[in-house]
């Protein structure tokens, strides 16, 4: 790549960041997402008790967090009924949600956009057929479909250590990817339909360019802004879905420090005893979802302005 091209792209990125951070809401959202991402990456070093299942503490300790005095105390978010430090568990739980939701969203964007661009550009029976399948998939509520898929795969018996078992462990991640591929594909398809009538695409056809070249070199760059927006949206929905599945008992399995699972484990009668063991993971979910939404809204605006 020639240097001037590279510096141009840096400048474009910088401009994008400037527009994104100009609005306080999007700046706040972005900052919070970055904060959680930081926890996900370095949480193990930050948590006072790096083992989330360390039960060496007194049970049902109230939170010692004192915001007024800026003091964290021994158990800032208290301990649950099994004597586990809620603060450490919330911090350590960030990683799984980013891994599952982030990776799931990423896979769905990559597969979905490739599929959608091809459908949109190719058209014809291929588009027609896949379009119907996508419509059918979109008609089923995401959560219901996820429950069905997770339920089926979880109930299959695999040899321990086999790749199928490995796969089953990551079933939520895969389900998210599968679930969102049609959504992304539809966005990519409609963008491709718009771009493919542009004359520069016809100029490439006149040169006899192969389909893959036209899709990835001529069409894709113009679609990327829409895909970036879609990726951030998918991420926020995926977080919500991971938390929901965890809460319903279809996500991570105990005793892993999954936020949704923590909410589930501490509801009902236990809530009277240790409300903090439910409140803090629930708050974490809420803050992260809102933050991602604010950020994706900001990204959408920045992309529109950038053009």
């Amino acid at each position: 790549m020639n240097p001037s091209l590279f510096s141009r792209q840096i400048a474009a990125l910088r401009h994008f960041a400037a527009v994104l951070l100009r609005r306080p809401q999007s700046a706040l959202g972005t900052a919070l997402v970055c904060f959680f991402l930081f926890l996900a990456l370095f949480g193990a070093g930050l948590a006072p008790y790096p083992n989330p299942n360390d039960q060496s503490h007194a049970v049902r300790v109230s939170p010692t967090l004192d915001i007024g005095a800026l003091r964290l105390g021994e158990h800032p978010f208290g301990t649950d009924r099994l004597g586990r430090d809620v603060y450490s568990r919330v911090i350590l739980g960030a990683r799984s949600i980013f891994r599952i939701a982030g990776l799931g969203a990423l896979i769905s964007v990559i597969v979905g956009s490739a599929l959608g661009l091809y459908m949109g550009y190719r058209g014809g029976w291929f588009d027609e057929l896949l379009g119907r399948v996508i419509d059918a998939l979109l008609a089923i509520p995401a959560l219901v479909l996820a429950l069905v898929l997770v339920g089926i795969i979880r109930n299959l018996d695999f040899e321990i250590g086999s790749w199928q078992a490995e796969l089953a462990d990551n079933v939520v991640l895969l389900v998210i990817a599968v679930l969102y591929v049609p959504v992304v594909a539809r966005v990519a398809r409609s963008s491709a339909l718009d771009i493919k009538t542009r004359e520069f695409v016809e100029a490439a056809e006149i040169r006899g360019e192969p389909t893959t070249y036209i899709i990835f070199r001529e069409i894709l760059p113009s679609v990327i802004p829409a895909l970036v927006v879609e990726a951030s949206l998918r991420f926020s929905y995926a977080i919500f879905l991971v938390a929901s599945l965890g809460f319903l008992g279809f996500g991570a399995r105990p005793p892993s420090p999954d936020w949704g699972l923590m909410v589930n484990e501490n509801r009902g009668g236990f809530y009277q005893l240790t409300p903090w063991a439910l409140d803090f993971p629930a708050l974490a979910i809420a803050i992260l979802v809102i933050a991602v939404n604010l950020m994706s809204d900001g990204i959408r605006r920045a992309v529109q302005k950038g053009n």
């Binding site: 091209l5 004359e199 520069f200 016809e202 100029a203 056809e205 006149i206 040169r207 001529e218």
Partner: protein
């Protein structure tokens, strides 16, 4: 002059860009008396629409009129009016007919309701009275069947009808001032002629003052009394229309007038004058004259200080230090190049063109039509003695491309009703049996109204659309239907320049990337070789080599089109299809691109299939012209013969519709009133009979007309015998001259 209707002095209009207010129009002035028409001419970005909006006090929130100026309408100061007062003025006294009539009408309301609504809001007239007023107005703007039109929705009307409705809407309150913002820009010449005729007729009856905004100098010459030439937000010249055209005093006006090809002017005669460079960006205006950077007459003083708008008397004013030296514009009839001092990169080429060049023109018979028989009786049909003509062609010339009976029928989806009744709807016959040959190095011009099938024909040839029938041969090889099936060899021989410069380059690829790809792909160059060739290509289209690293967003429209031309030439093709390559460009830029195309053709011997709705442009670049109507050719002939009798009645109408940039040419027009019939339900017999002003009778409705050969290579498809046609048309032209 009576008391002015509009009196504008020292008007400065600014737009907010970021945090700064940038003056977009500076020191504008205008006097307009009731019943007069003044033209506002300028290229895009010159501020003409800004002026229109400011005169109405209708600027968007990021625009404002600076204090210190005067804007008086019928003696009242508009600048001090409140919004409520302005609203009552807008409602009835000042009207704007916007450029895009289709977008100006509400798509969800019937036409009648929209127009009567105006009456209700402005004058409080409703019910039957409003209905009557509306029908009268529709009648005045020559809408056929006013009652039916009122019951329709905007999308059911053609562009010309929509424009008439908008004009009717503007005139129905009997306004004192009407501002027409490019009302005919998106329309066909034939429709444009009808609308201009209408405006002229309406103004003669009323006392309305009209400001006519346009970039088309021909329209101004035909319609206006006085002209203001605007450039980069300043008045360059103000003059009565006859004087401006006879003797422009500003280098910019002179440049504009010279850069438009005149009908009958040919690439063989002279290069077009072009104004080099691009208009300045508003933010970068300097102290000096705004036109200095592009001016042929520039002196140091021009860059240092701004020339004042000097009053020359007779209502003329000019903003130039050297106006006295601006030479007289030659009479349109003469073909001598009128460039005072040739500038820019085309000068070298024009010097090289000796007088001998004319002799190198290919013989007329080379191009054009096959299947023409001399002295055919009306019963003998078009393509008959194919063999004979084919042989003749092959002997005479080296034929580059041969199109035989080319057809494209678009199938129409069956509705449920049709399906139940077992009916199949008729296809849309966009191209319906076209025969053409094109010689190497020639330009074939293709003209016709929009919807005549020009673009479809070009797309069939390039292979972006698959033909329904017919053959296509290139250099004697049969070539396949779609680009996907064609060999790289064929692909490299056929290239295309598209209409819209905004869309023809990928915004995310640099100029270098755009040009390198065809070199590597079609000419099999190594990356290093391609690199050198990119620079070479850019030089050839008069762009600096450092443009290679630019992205399309950093290029002006004309520069983008040059890159697109370079890209088309990269594979060293034999034929380039140019689909309206200059119609999206400004006049001053347009001529530079036309010159470039002419020069490259001369250097490379490339043939063009040139499509345009602008007959003068087609005429300039073409050796042979084909006139297309509803999917068929109706006349084919050498460019030099085509614009004079005898011609096909359709060609005649097209030629007569062109607004000529000469105010003395007050021609009687041959107007085509109806719209193009649908290509799904083609008229029987001669397809043109429904609109033909020279229809002779039942034979036109019943029989397809025969081809009649005027001379070698010039043929007309009409029932009227040639001698008769020629006599009719000559007498029409004579009447014109007397009038």
């Amino acid at each position: 002059m009576t008391a002015p209707l509009l009196d504008v002095e020292r008007l400065t209009i600014s737009y907010r860009i970021g945090k700064r207010w940038i003056p977009a129009v500076r020191d504008f002035h205008l006097q307009l008396a009731p019943g007069h028409i003044v033209g506002l001419v300028g290229e895009s970005g010159s501020g003409k629409s800004t002026v229109a909006l400011a005169l109405m006090r209708y600027l968007s929130s990021n625009g404002r009129v600076e204090s210190g100026g005067r804007l008086a309408f019928a003696g009242e100061d508009l600048l001090s009016k409140s919004d409520a007062e302005m609203r009552s003025i807008w409602a009835r006294r000042v009207k704007l007919a916007p450029q895009n009539a289709g977008a100006a009408l509400n798509p969800s309301m019937k036409i009648g309701a929209q127009v009567t609504e105006v009456l209700g809001a402005a004058l409080g007239i409703g019910g039957a009275e409003a209905e009557q007023a509306m029908l009268r107005m529709f009648h005045d703007v020559n809408l056929v069947d006013p009652e039916k039109v009122a019951e329709r929705y905007p999308h059911e009307l053609s562009g010309g009808m929509q424009q008439r409705v908008v004009i009717a809407m503007a005139l129905i309150t009997n306004p004192e001032l009407l501002i027409l913002d490019e009302p005919t820009t998106g329309l066909d010449v034939t429709t444009e002629a009808v609308i201009l005729d209408l405006i002229r007729g309406l103004m003669a009856k009323r006392d309305t003052g009209v400001i006519y905004i346009t970039h088309n100098l021909g329209v101004v010459a035909q319609l206006c009394e006085r002209v203001l030439v605007l450039y980069a937000g300043e008045i360059m010249e103000e003059a009565p229309v006859e004087q401006l055209y006879a003797a422009p005093r500003h280098p910019y006006s002179l440049g504009l007038l010279n850069s438009v090809p005149r009908l009958g002017q040919s690439k063989a005669d002279s290069r077009l004058h072009s104004i080099s460079g691009n208009p300045p960006a508003l933010a970068e205006l300097t102290r000096g004259c705004v036109f200095a950077e592009r001016c042929d007459f520039v002196i140091d003083k021009c860059r240092a200080e701004k020339p004042p708008l000097e009053q020359l008397g007779d209502g003329r004013a000019v903003r130039c230090f050297r106006w006295e030296e601006v030479t007289v514009y030659p009479h349109p009839k003469s073909n001598a190049p009128s460039v005072p001092r040739p500038t820019g990169d085309d000068s070298e080429a024009s010097r090289r063109r000796g007088p001998a060049h004319r002799d190198r023109l290919p013989p007329i018979a080379m191009g054009g039509l096959r299947g023409v028989e001399k002295n055919t009786s009306p019963l003998q049909r078009g393509v008959r003695d194919e063999e004979r003509v084919l042989q003749k062609d092959d002997r005479d010339t080296d034929t580059l491309m041969r199109v035989t009976d080319l057809k494209k029928h678009f199938p129409v989806a069956r509705s449920l009703g049709d399906w139940l009744r077992g009916k199949k709807p008729a296809p849309i016959r966009a191209v319906d049996g076209v025969n053409l040959t094109l010689g190497a190095g020639q330009t074939l011009g293709l003209v016709g109204e929009s919807g005549s099938g020009k673009t479809t024909l070009s797309r069939l040839i390039i292979g972006l659309q698959e033909r329904t029938g017919g053959q296509l041969e290139l250099l004697g090889m049969d070539i396949r239907n779609s680009v996907r099936e064609r060999s790289p060899d064929v692909l490299s021989k056929l290239q295309m320049v598209f209409q819209n410069p905004q869309n023809s380059l990928n915004p995310y690829l640099s100029v270098r990337q755009a040009l390198r790809r065809p070199l590597v792909k079609l000419r099999g160059m190594t990356p290093a070789g391609a690199e050198a060739e990119v620079a070479q290509l850019l030089r050839r289209v008069n762009l600096r080599e450092d443009y290679a690293d630019r992205f399309p967003a950093e290029l002006s429209g004309g520069e983008k089109q040059r890159v697109a031309v370079a890209r088309a030439f990269a594979s060293d093709p034999d034929l380039i299809i140019c689909d309206e390559p200059v119609s999206a460009l400004d006049v001053s830029v347009q001529s530079a691109v036309l010159n470039l195309l002419a020069r490259l053709q001369e250097e490379h011997g490339t043939a063009y299939l040139f499509i345009s709705h602008d007959l003068a442009v087609v005429g300039y670049l073409s050796d042979v012209i084909a006139v297309m109507y509803l999917g068929q050719l109706f006349e084919v002939g050498a460019a030099s013969d085509l614009f004079q009798p005898p011609y096909h009645p359709y060609t005649e109408a097209l030629v007569s519709a062109i607004p000529v940039a000469d105010p003395h040419h007050k021609a009687e027009r041959m107007l085509l009133h109806d719209v193009l019939p649908s290509a799904q339900r083609l008229p029987s017999g001669c397809r043109f009979h429904t609109r033909c002003p020279r229809k002779i009778g039942a034979v036109c409705e019943e029989e397809a007309p025969p081809w009649r050969e005027v001379d070698a290579g010039h043929a007309i498809r009409c029932h009227i015998p040639l001698e008769e046609l020629s006599a009719l048309q000559h007498s029409f032209l004579r009447r014109e001259e007397i009038a």
